[in-house]
């Protein structure tokens, strides 16, 4: 691991000033915030990240979970994944988020990992994580070792000729279906970013994964007020029953009016280069009867533009079945 300077600011302003000195907030940032450390320390050990400065933000007052004015829930950036997953309001009003969090990582990791850190977790692509291999995400223009290599765990949606790395998060898929917003404090003040605008698909710049700029510090994630009468559910399909990333997952929020779907939000995990909002599926579902035929049509629409790589073609059918099963489960609970 390369040497670094360690600091521990006591205010958000101090943290923002420290972060602002970084040349980038993206891959190879020279100033990095550390909270839980479960991604950053992992990548620093692999020399995939080697910041000159590590700014420990754990002393900042960002751990609270409280009601949002006007309804909804504000989750502090430093709220630990386990705290959020077991929070009574989250379990009651946003069960898809609790289920997603509890399906991920391990109890130990969930006790360390933070809400904002989870937003920023990195791909598990083996070539990204091994500096012996060419990787456009680490160094654009050097090539993608995964295309034509081992890509079973990688993306089929949102890919480019330069990168097919999948986003492995569960939390962020749930947050996407819940239409969460992300509050950021930066060098120029604070702003709110809807989660569907937060992530960047790889395109020709796979090193840029989100819209954050140097100095930007996520301070909270806000969930809108729950829709009365809605149900939500998270289904994660993977090789093992636990302690494994998704091959395909689906977060569903749905509200029925009688037998018709009045409201639907569908987000996919394990298959996208970013947490994948499927408006295609939602468009099929909206206003239609909640039955198997509708769910199958929605699944087809969701995967219509899928572009599998050499080893992950099975994900197309798996993701469709995941959507159908998740919709079935969610609507049966209504």
């Amino acid at each position: 691991m390369q040497p670094f300077q360690y600091s521990r600011p006591s205010t958000v302003d101090q943290a923002v000033v420290a972060g602002s000195r970084s040349k980038t907030a993206q891959q190879y940032a020279d100033v990095r915030f550390i909270a839980g450390g479960t991604t950053l320390v992992d990548l620093m050990k692999l020399d995939v990240e080697h910041p000159d400065q590590v700014v420990d933000i754990n002393a900042l007052p960002l751990g609270q979970i409280q009601p949002a004015p006007g309804g909804g829930l504000v989750i502090g950036a430093l709220a630990r994944n386990s705290t959020v997953a077991h929070h009574a309001t989250v379990q009651r009003d946003y069960p898809v988020l609790s289920q997603a969090l509890l399906s991920g990582a391990s109890p130990q990791l969930r006790n360390m990992a933070t809400t904002a850190g989870n937003l920023l977790q990195r791909t598990r692509c083996v070539y990204f994580r091994d500096t012996a291999h060419a990787c456009n995400k680490r160094q654009p223009g050097t090539g993608c070792s995964a295309i034509g290599g081992h890509n079973r765990m990688l993306a089929i949606l949102g890919t480019s000729r330069d990168c097919i790395a999948s986003n492995p998060s569960d939390q962020n898929v749930a947050l996407t279906a819940l239409e969460a917003t992300i509050q950021v404090q930066g060098a120029n003040g604070t702003r709110t970013i809807p989660i569907h605008e937060f992530y960047l698909q790889p395109g020709s710049t796979p090193n840029r994964e989100n819209v954050l700029e140097p100095g930007d510090l996520v301070v909270s994630v806000t969930l809108p007020a729950p829709l009365a009468g809605s149900q939500s559910h998270y289904l994660k399909l993977r090789d093992r029953a636990a302690y494994e990333f998704a091959l395909a997952s689906a977060a569903i929020v749905v509200k029925l009016n009688g037998s018709r779907i009045e409201y639907a939000r569908v987000a996919l995990g394990g298959v996208g280069t970013i947490p994948w909002r499927s408006r295609e599926a939602e468009h099929v579902l909206q206003g239609h009867v909640a039955n198997a035929a509708t769910f199958h049509r929605a699944a087809e629409a969701a995967l219509k533009d899928a572009r599998p790589a050499s080893e992950n073609g099975f994900k197309v059918e798996l993701a469709k079945r995941c959507i159908v099963r998740a919709l079935t489960t969610t609507t049966q609970a209504a």
Binding site: M1, P3, F4, Q5, Y6, R8, I34, G36, G37, T38, V41, D42, M44, K45, V54, D56, N58, A59, S82, H86, A105, S106, P107, Q108, L109, N111, M112, A242, Y243
Partner: protein, 225 residues
């Protein structure tokens, strides 16, 4: 025909200083022998981080280890098993390496060093965490508990006793992490069934496959928590 024992002399090499008559505490273990040997030998060949980690050999936990003249070292105060100590650390030192190398608490094990096996599980402020994925410097305000802190050979924690009673280990390498996880489980909202225990303990893997006995041990130990 019987082997003539008188004509065969088997000389067993014993570690220097060891003797059947000496009490166990005075015998030099392999660990301390290598530590005393190693400060010069290892430092000559290893990277700066390894050299720095090897320098404080085996001081008792009560004394502060000698501050190595280490460029870039920062002062870190750690409270481990109820005792506070000030250390001079390379910022890259993980909590795991600090416990094992700087504080002479080797009960916590390094399995994967990447948060994927749970062998390094300790408690930070009562919560179980993987000590390999945290820098020691991040824990100045925290209370850290290791396997050494939850019980002693003559006064075992009920969970340690349960692991012995139920033979919840084979090679023992994952065991301190299993026990630290299991102790934490006693204070978490975990259901009563074996399946619930499996769900709660899946962050600790066991290459020997002692899982059925581990589950039995956890179920027994949590009755006394």
């Amino acid at each position: 025909m019987a082997t003539d024992r008188k004509s065969i002399e088997v000389t067993e090499q014993e570690p220097p200083g060891s003797s059947a008559e000496q009490p166990a505490a005075a015998r030099i273990s392999r660990r301390s022998f290598l530590s005393h040997l190693g400060a010069a030998g290892i430092a000559a060949t290893a990277s700066p981080v390894l050299a720095a980690a090897a320098v404080p050999a085996a001081p008792p936990v009560e004394e502060a280890p000698e501050a190595a003249a280490l460029p870039g070292a920062i002062p870190v105060t750690l409270k481990v098993n109820g005792k506070s100590q000030v250390l001079q650390l390379d910022p890259r030192t993980t909590l795991l390496d600090c416990l094992r190398e700087n504080l002479n608490l080797p009960g916590t094990k390094k399995g994967c060093d990447h948060g994927q096996c749970g062998a390094c599980t300790v408690h930070v402020n009562g919560q179980r965490v993987n000590s390999c994925l945290s820098f020691a410097a991040m824990h100045s305000a925290d209370e850290i508990t290791t396997i050494e802190g939850i019980g002693q050979p003559d006064h075992l924690h009920p969970m340690q006793a349960a692991f012995i009673e139920h033979d919840g280990y084979q090679c023992g390498y994952c065991t301190s992490g299993q026990i630290m996880s299991a102790v934490a489980v006693c204070k978490e909202p975990v259901g009563p069934s074996d399946e619930d225990v499996k769900q709660a303990m899946y962050g600790n893997i066991c290459r020997c496959g002692a899982y059925p006995n581990i589950i039995a041990a956890v179920q027994a130990g949590r009755r006394f928590a």
